[in-house]
């Protein structure tokens, strides 16, 4: 699969995503935020960082950038779109995913390896895993507290659109293991059609043993459509 990794001026995980994808044998190109074209066969990654400084609200300014119109079209065409961390925030601001990401409940930026639990293997992003599998994936954010209306949360639950939840090392979803206070311990969700994924943890940071683990590979390979063959 060929990936288009969008580069906003304040993106800082763009190169990391390209590196991880290349390690996994995927092609990746950087797409500047002022460009207007995503190719029809490409999967899109909105990487982590601080797209435009993110002073007002994370992702608030990014959604108006020229490339986002193309990303919307790609999502509507059914192309894969993955928003990681700041990318998740942008997807929510742009309306490609429901809800919003607000300041962490503890008010601090948190960077650590957080266990997350795979809730369903029936999406392309999670097909490499089994239900209940615990992944060790780094988080690094100050605004990762997922909030949505009760209707939206109910819909996400009912349609199994919650792909990952924060959990303790034993796999239990408990308040102490929730690093940011997200509703329903949500770490990642997808859209109804199943082609748009937003997640706060960084799969690209755990694709090599030297970086502390390889639990993120399945997600990126899933996005590439290589899922089960892992």
């Amino acid at each position: 699969m060929r990936f288009a990794v969008v580069q906003f001026p304040g993106s800082n995980c763009d190169q990391d995503c390209v590196h991880a994808l290349q390690i996994l044998g995927q092609e990746a190109r950087l797409v500047w935020h002022q460009e207007t074209k995503i190719n029809p066969e490409e999967a899109v990654i909105l990487p982590g960082g601080f797209s435009y400084g993110d002073y007002l609200r994370c992702g608030a300014i990014a959604r108006f950038s020229p490339i986002m119109a193309a990303v919307k079209v790609a999502a509507e065409r059914g192309q894969v779109v993955v928003g990681i961390c700041n990318g998740f925030q942008i997807l929510c601001e742009a309306g490609l995913l429901p809800g919003a990401l607000t300041r962490n409940e503890g008010l601090h930026f948190r960077c650590e390896t957080a266990p997350i639990r795979v809730e369903t293997p029936t999406t392309r992003f999670t097909s490499a895993y089994v239900t209940g599998q615990i992944l060790q994936i780094p988080i690094a954010h100050g605004e990762g507290c997922y909030r949505a209306s009760p209707d939206v949360l109910q819909e996400l639950e009912a349609r199994q659109r919650i792909l990952f939840r924060y959990c303790n090392p034993e796999g239990e979803v408990v308040a102490e293991a929730n690093p940011n206070g997200s509703s329903h311990a949500i770490a990642g969700i997808c859209n109804a059609r199943g082609n748009v994924l937003g997640m706060m943890p960084h799969p690209e940071r755990c694709c090599e043993p030297e970086m502390g683990g390889v639990d993120g590979r399945g997600i990126l390979l899933g996005a590439a459509g290589v899922g089960r063959s892992l």
Partner: protein
């Protein structure tokens, strides 16, 4: 005599003013005096310390850019790879406004590194505050300083996407009211990418790029001397605000610019004294002159005077000189990154910095006099009157008749001074960039860095300071620091390549303080020479005092090294069990003089470190690197503050770590507390497989370094024997105290 009076209000001395007038051949105007006041300050000229700094060894086969030549030193890491790194202080700004003070400190050191042509890849921070657990206003102020500084570093570092991978955080009453915020940055580049800050080529255009100029950072002294109403004073504070987003754009744009062949002539960041400093330094280095027009400088505020524009410390600005005819390329790159790029002047042959406003000359100064001719002082030095008294130590008056080691260790585990620093580094993105191999919390941080030809080089780095040691014995304390930093690197299998230093001291006009500074420099210089470690630059921060008195003399060193081929990196914490505990080095503890133990447990700062045995240290480090190439080494931790018992306890604090059962040697004339908590000797603890012991013992014997078997790991209790002392702690009991002590006082 009006000019002279003005000079005096800006902190220049009468003698300095006379020298300026003589050098210029006329009476300088207000703008020129302002320029001199900053360029001839200690911060820019090192006028009080230059004589001392010359004592450092600054050359070596690995040195590519020497101390003082450019914004940061550069060393060779092999395979065409070079490392640019430097430490700098932001103590005073952080005391006034901790968040912005720390944030702009990070931004400043970042610019120093990418100015050299390097891509910044890691930050570390060395932070010192008063006691956060103190009662009343002192504690309250300290806690808010700590939170502000940590958030400021987190804010800037996380946003620019450079990981903060280590450092130190120290609490000591000596820093009450005068915190130390020293920030370090490392960048990587190819040898051929090194950039110089010289203005060359008459007629070449001088560009101003980055954020607009405002009245940020204008010194209070300058305002006090002018007609300003109370109201306008309130509106013109000295606080500089950092904009990490613009900082990130600026370094990406600059790196893109450098990548264009033969485009850039010289680059200089605008730090202290912004425009003044960058123009006169580039002109002086290039043996040229520069002429600029202030009306062309992008300004954030209206009605700024030449004086204000010349001395503004607005952040995120750079001065760039490119080859004539290539202006459009520069403009195109900066426009793409959404940044201002204004051509404000040209390189001339006059050797002068000429500043115009609306075509009229408002300052005209020979660049060399401004940049390089600041006076160099030999300050008076005197041994502190009370030093000998303070160095005395009578343990009989301090230690209880019967050792209370169990309580002692519980107290250490509870103290915020020794507790886990996770609360801090969890707030720093320490993984971005996919280079962090050893994360914060251990002896040294390790990064992997791309070699120009592909593949990785592993770079280890550490920051170390110890005001307590240096207060009690400035010379040996400073030597011990360098030894400890090298030992930390050895624990990561790394050979040190270079050192950057931040000298934090009080008022140099106080002969006792100047004496401690000189001793400190000489001690460091001696140790650096012994370890073949060039000093590649750094920073001096003086006048660190509060009404309660000066801070401890606190040199901080940052040492960068390269992990040797074949080394297997191991954690600093124990595994689940089944290993053997070994001690490398000496059985002697070095005693309790100036120790953390005496301060934390008995509230006493007394005695001094034993004499540092540099030869033994060097042999130990070499052995350590060899041992790390063997199979079966599970964990390594250096014995530092708190002595061997604290080091062992720390090894059991890993989330998954089991306990240990060890016997610690106690000399016949020694109190068990000395054996357990003495921190004066260079030693390293290992957890290894049983099968690996013989091999390690063999290497140690060859190296002439002691190797002692202390016990075994496993179970979930921590058991020690030492002379008459036999104690145990439930592993979880200590672990919980250790991990909660800092959040408990700060949250």
């Amino acid at each position: 005599m009006k000019a002279k009076e003005f000079a005096l209000t800006l902190g220049l001395s009468a003698g300095e003013y006379d020298q300026i007038e003589k050098g210029m051949g006329r009476e300088p105007n207000e703008n020129e005096i302002g320029m001199f006041s900053v360029m001839w300050s200690e911060h820019c000229s090192y006028k009080n310390t230059r004589r001392e700094l010359r004592k450092f060894p600054t050359t070596g086969p690995a040195v590519l850019v020497k101390a003082g030549e450019e914004n940061a030193g550069v060393v060779d890491a092999g395979d065409g790879l070079a490392l640019a790194y430097k430490i700098e202080s932001h103590n005073h700004p952080s005391a006034v406004e901790p968040f912005q003070g720390a944030a702009t400190g990070v931004g400043g050191i970042l610019r120093d590194i990418f100015t050299m042509g390097a891509r910044p890849v890691a930050f570390m921070d060395s932070l010192r505050f008063g006691r956060p657990e103190a009662k009343g206003d002192d504690g309250k102020r300290t806690r808010s300083l700590i939170k502000g500084v940590v958030s400021g570093i987190s804010h800037y570092g996380n946003c620019v996407g450079v990981p903060t991978i280590g450092g130190e955080l120290v609490f000591d009453q000596a820093y009450d009211g005068n915190p130390l915020v020293n920030v370090f940055c490392l960048g990587t580049l190819r040898h051929d990418q090194i950039r110089r800050g010289a203005a060359k080529g008459v007629g070449n255009p001088v560009f101003y790029v980055g954020a607009k100029t405002g009245r940020d950072g204008l010194a209070g002294a300058a305002f006090a001397s002018r007609d300003l109403t109370e109201e306008s004073k309130a509106d013109r504070p000295a606080v500089q605000v950092g904009d990490p987003f613009v900082g990130k754009l600026l370094f990406e744009a600059c790196l893109e610019l450098y990548a264009r062949p033969d485009l850039v002539v010289g680059v200089q960041d605008m730090g202290a004294a912004g425009l003044t400093c960058s123009t006169c330094e580039t002109a002086s280095r290039g043996g040229s002159g520069i002429e600029i027009e202030l009306d062309l400088v992008p300004q954030r505020e209206t009605g700024m005077t030449p004086y204000e524009i010349l001395l503004s410390e607005s952040q995120e600005r750079m001065l760039i000189i490119v080859h004539k005819g290539r202006e459009a390329e520069l403009k195109e790159i900066f426009a793409r990154w959404g940044l201002d790029a204004a051509e404000i002047g040209t390189v001339t042959e006059t050797g002068r910095v000429v500043v115009k406003e609306g075509g009229k000359v408002v300052a005209d100064v020979p660049a060399r006099i401004l940049a390089d001719d600041a006076p160099v002082y030999e300050r008076e030095a005197k041994v502190p009157a009370k030093l000998a008294e303070r160095q005395k130590l009578d343990l009989r008056k301090i230690l209880p008749a019967k050792p209370k080691v169990r309580e002692d260790l519980l107290k250490l585990a509870t103290s915020p001074a020794t507790g886990s620093r996770r609360w801090v580094w969890n707030q720093y993105d320490h993984m971005v960039g996919l280079r962090t191999v050893v994360r914060p919390g251990g002896d040294a941080a390790v990064l992997r860095v791309e070699k120009p030809g592909g593949g990785w080089v592993h770079v280890a780095m550490t920051l170390d300071g110890n005001g307590r040691w240096c207060a009690q014995d400035p010379r040996e304390g400073s030597k011990a620091l360098v030894a400890e930093a090298c030992r930390n690197l050895a624990c990561a299998g790394a050979v040190p390549l270079g050192l950057t230093d931040n000298l934090n001291y009080g008022n140099p006009h106080d002969p006792e303080i100047f004496w401690t500074l000189r001793e400190g420099v000489e001690g460091m210089a001696e140790a650096c020479r012994f370890f073949d470690l060039p000093v590649t630059g750094g920073n001096v921060s003086l006048y660190n005092q509060s009404p309660a008195g000066p801070i401890h003399p606190t040199p901080v060193v940052g040492v960068v090294g390269k992990v040797e081929e074949g080394v297997r990196l191991v954690p600093g914490i124990l595994g689940k069990g089944g290993g053997v505990v070994l001690l490398l080095g000496t059985q002697e503890s070095g005693g309790l003089g100036a120790s953390l133990y005496l301060q934390e447990i008995h509230g006493v700062l007394a005695g001094k470190l034993g004499k540092v045995n540099l030869k033994a240290e060097k042999e130990l480090h070499q052995l350590m690197r060899s041992v790390l190439k063997l199979k079966g080494v599970r964990a390594v931790h250096d014995v530092g503050e708190g002595g061997i018992l604290w080091a062992l306890a720390e090894m059991t604090f890993g989330e998954e770590s089991g306990g240990a059962e060890v016997e610690i040697p106690c000399g016949s004339n020694e109190r068990p507390e000395e054996a357990l908590f003495g921190e004066g000797a260079g030693r390293i603890l290992l957890e290894v497989d049983e099968e690996a012991v013989t091999g390690i013992e063999g290497l140690a014997k060859e190296a002439g370094v002691g190797c002692y078997r202390l016990g075994k790991t496993g179970g979930d209790i921590f058991v020690i024997r030492c002379g008459v002392v036999k104690e145990k702690w439930a592993g979880k009991e200590l672990k919980d105290l250790f991990h909660n002590s800092l959040p408990k006082v700060l949250e």
